[in-house]
């Protein structure tokens, strides 16, 4: 009986655990201004929550610094510190960028991963 209970628990429990984790492990897709709003609830010492912003690259300052515009039309500066992209950033590209905002006098987005849209 104990064997059946534990195997049953494992068969149901492990996929359930994965599903449950997926509910808490998906970053929200937001606009830059929404990301700033969320960051304003965190203290100076903690990092702002991770979010995804869908962007169009408007200009490239260097291979790690770009200017983007989001779906709401807000233009903002982005610093990218993820792994070197296979295709370098170029104006007109559409990406989903994962990262967090740095709030302050000149807010900017710090992206750590890039996904093509």
């Amino acid at each position: 009986m104990i064997r059946a209970i534990i195997i049953g628990l494992a068969v149901i429990g492990i996929p359930a655990a994965v599903w449950f984790a997926s509910q808490y492990g998906q970053p929200d897709t937001v606009t830059f201004l929404q990301a700033i709003q969320r960051a304003s609830t965190t203290s100076e010492a903690e990092q702002a929550p991770k979010v995804v912003i869908e962007v169009v690259v408007t200009s490239v300052e260097s291979d790690r610094e770009i200017q983007c515009v989001d779906g709401a039309g807000t233009s903002f500066h982005t610093e990218y510190s993820g792994s070197a992209p296979e295709v370098p950033f170029a104006a007109g590209q559409q990406h989903r960028l994962l990262g967090h905002v740095h709030n302050g006098a000149k807010p900017y987005f710090h992206a750590t991963q890039r996904f093509d849209r």
């Binding site: 429990g13 655990a17 449950f20 808490y24 492990g25 100076e44 010492a45 991770k50 995804v52």
Partner: protein
Amino acid sequence: MIGQIGIHLLFGIALASTVLYGTTLHAPADDKRISIARWLFRILAGGLVASAAGLIALIVTHQFQFTYVWNYSSTELPLHLLVACFYSGQEGSFLLWTMFVAVIGILLQPYAKRHGYEAPVMLFYGLILSFLTLLLVAKNPFAYYYESFASQGITIDDIPANGKGLNPLLHNAWITIHPPILFVGFASMSVSFAFAMAGLVRKDYHRWIDISLPWTLFATGILGFGIMLGGFWAYETLGWGGFWGWDPVENSSLIPWLVVVALVHTMLVQKRTRGLVKTNMALAVLSFVMVLYSTFLTRSGVLGDTSVHSFVDPGRFAFWILLLFMVTFIGIGVSLLVIRRSDMNVTREEFAPTTREFMLSIGSALVMASAVFVTIGTSWPVIMEVLGLPKVAVAIDFYNQVHRILVPAILVVNAISLVMQWRNTTRSVFRRRVLRSSVAAVVGTGVLIAFGVRDLWPIALGFGAWFSFAINVEDGLRMLKAGPAMMGAYVSHVGIALLMFGVITTSMYAETYHAVLVHGKPVNVGTYTLTYLGKEQVDKEFRDREKFRYYVRIEHDGQRRTVAPVLYWSDFNQRQSPFLEPGIRWGLMNDLYVSPKNIGREDVFHETTVQKGASAQVPIDKNVSLFLDGFTMPMEEGQTEDGRMQMSAKIVATTANGDTVNVKARTRITTGPNGPAFDPEWTTIPGTTTAVGLINIDRNNEDPSKSKGTFAFYDVSKPRPFAREEFTVEFSVKPLISLVWIGVIAMVTGFAFSIGRSVRMLKKKPTLQVVQNEPLT
């Protein structure tokens, strides 16, 4: 050079000892090869201790020609922190772990020999050490500075004058004991794995339980203690107010601990019933594999940017060794389990639900469920990356939600397992004992509700904790008559119940206030009065920081206490974020916890920001407006006598009667690590009583015509306002958090009792002959 050669040599010795032990699996105990393998192991252990001592000596004597010493230490550090530098980086912590495995091996060797298990146990144990020493070859702590930076043109003559220093977060006494204890726990987890593998090789599926139980209890107790010391360090040092944050680094120690907790309980079941043979073998493998998996997660760099901790990329070679290390031991464990699978079925038996063995099995399954959830949560970024999805950690609430169900269930099952008897429990005994404890739990939970607990989770946790507490105290007191050695499990369980009470009270009753404390001015927060008394610079010998202790007086019910939180910026993190240390007034009934947030000055000057080419009203005189015409360049203004740069804002002021006057508001600029600081020269606007000062220039590099200036004003007919220092804090009252620490101490004490008991029981058994060796196939 000696150090580097030595590490390579130690890897060779580890391999040689392991191979020799492997060739003597079926040899008699007096075989010459066993004696050589034994000596090789002793040389290996001696070499590792000497390496560790050597590295400490290099750090203490500031030998910055070694990359590791340069990277993690500096001349300013006191002796105890210099010693802590030894294990502050990957290379040193691998050496510490390896050394503890070897030292424990020195104790294990004669123990295993006495029980006729030396060759198989030391074969697997030696294999673990071989991988660990191979890791040291990849992450050699004795690499030279000029070797590490040869590509940057550094030569053998370039020896840094000072090191980069120890992470300021680690400048704490607790950091000198927390990692060593944790690594003793990790190292001792190898022992039960080696015994289980030896049991499988020998087809001896029961005796290894008796022999390895004291070691397994030791590993569980010491690792649990190490984990909670980490929690205590976080509470006492990091200033975020908690002791557990479900961070991957914390989870990486918790996962193997949960597995080994389950293993201890299932080993007890096998001891009494000879059941759960395969389960114990599997859990022994899993507990060690989870140590390796957790190490892989936190040391391979795969978690990258998903934690508050920084994960250093260990390099490709070390990454593959870590992966190979883990895969090899999963392979060995699973292969042996599969090979012996049918053989282990011989003593299979069913447990009736009315037995202790049944409830202990369910309890272990629940603990394992916790381990599974924590593993999935911690691995989530890796799973996401494999699936090509955004790599993020799960929210902390994932762990909290899961454990709101699991922890009360574990507490209740634990308590019921103690009520049950081995093999069978009569209904009357069960009813009588459960009824008594249930009444106590209901009353206790009623008290919690009376004190304001309303949510389901703390009520369920409270009931579970009271139920477990009542049964364990009752049984523990009964067992006291038979001597303290019998009380181990009860003391540990009472400790866990107390810990849970501490979790409930701190999570439900803690009061937290945000307060801005102006120097010398008492501020009421709740029923407390806080006064910021002033600051004192400390650790002046460290040049990377200006560290201040901020004294805050707390008054309550006529009593006065002073705490001293710390807040500072350091070059260590390029002053990107402050380092915070809370001020704590420790107490049995509650802790008063002052967490620093910010330091600044009172906003006594009225300010306004104006863009170039735009106008704004003067805040203290609505009849006067300013037009910002532009800024002068620094070369126009020249430098101050003390060498500071100067700039001015060109303002056109319009007074109440419509007159316009040109005003130059000059400011002196000091550039520092936190950006420019502006020191205004106050200028009175002619025809008014308003003085204006330029306190910030926000230059727009893309379009200089959109640059902005920020101006401050005061009325010159009144005394110039004095801006006092403002200290922003988060003040918390944490009731009964002492129960968390008392609970952990009780838990570890219980383990100590249990270890003593299991060793004594083992001694009482007649010496067993070496089991007949049988081939693997």
